[in-house]
Symmetry: C2
Amino acid sequence: MISKSEIKSITQLQQKKYRDTRQLFIAEGPKVISELLLAGMEVEAHYDTAPTHILKENYYQVTAQELKKISCLKTANKSLAIFRKPTSAALVDSGLIVALDAVRDPGNLGTIIRLCDWFGVNQLICSEDTADCFNPKVIQATMGSIARVAVHYVPLKDTLQSLSLPIFGAFMDGKNVYDGTLPSQGILVMGNEAHGVSAEISEVIQERISIPQFGSQTTESLNVATATAILLSEFRRAIER
Amino acid sequence: MISKSEIKSITQLQQKKYRDTRQLFIAEGPKVISELLLAGMEVEAHYDTAPTHILKENYYQVTAQELKKISCLKTANKSLAIFRKPTSAALVDSGLIVALDAVRDPGNLGTIIRLCDWFGVNQLICSEDTADCFNPKVIQATMGSIARVAVHYVPLKDTLQSLSLPIFGAFMDGKNVYDGTLPSQGILVMGNEAHGVSAEISEVIQERISIPQFGSQTTESLNVATATAILLSEFRRAIER
């Protein structure tokens, strides 16, 4: 039986300010929760409609009705857990890094984190106006990848300037990414869904790259998550050869 | 003023059976509607909260309240239009073609249609259990690309067997797509979100390809839309060189 105040305390975590103050976040569904547990994330409380053997402490069996009250999903999915936010290690000036300049959609951010994980990118730098990676929608979209990708919210321009890695940015009018070879280390900057990379951040980009368009010229630009997929693949195929 | 029967007649188009019988579909928002008009799609009726100059016939000014009643969106977006489904040309056995085997999510299908448009793929073949491309959610996600990509719903295996183009399929255990060069013409088969390419369709695949994974091996597979983005880019970069 979950008390009213407990329900309130849990659902408050749907808001960033409470996640920030309490350093906690919500994950839902057996698959995402078990991925986070496997990755060694620290669990604060686990609510499940079935008895479970994974955890003993902080485990509470709940009814489907109770789960519905604490869930952020349209259709609650068997279990919900409250995790402690990981303490990020310091940013390391090496490897391949993705940087996001005001990416606002939680679904896009979640997909990008999952892509980083697939392509072995373990550092993601976000401008302070990028969506919060501990937003429940992002956590669901990452499918557990959040446990393996360190996300840093920083003043983006200053941070980019403080790093020695070469800085690439995705632009509609950049150099054709299929020409030449990308380095195995560097920073790939992706811009906002509607406006692309901002003027402020553009100033620190060293190489503007672009995915050539083969279809009609009236087409919308590629979605930021699909463009990130293609560009990360381009960086990695260079290593493969 | 829209009558109750008119509201019913419009909202019925949210269901596939009515779209099929009446050969009509819904598009919403000024951007998507103007893309479809520009592409020469035939409009049946246009409801707008503002006076418009684009169309004279079949144009109805509505209140925000009325628009809300006919909209499929959470937040109705200024205008809604009913278009006539285009009559597809016959499938042509040349060029680069994408084939979908039971892709169920409308958002994924919409993203894939937009990718086809970007990469100049103007024929998309779908198994009969793939999501309907005239579903309002797909139309919104395509951002008008549906006007430039012909989508064919067919018995997939028979159709693939009837074409002479080489057939590639995306598999977790396929040949590394970064090794070797892809041809400029062929069929790329992408499978269902949860199960990948079905056993039935696998029988007609001539080359199994795969996007190498660089991160942790516990990661989920790539989402079907992001995997399609990367593989289409691989087919096109071959032409570029």
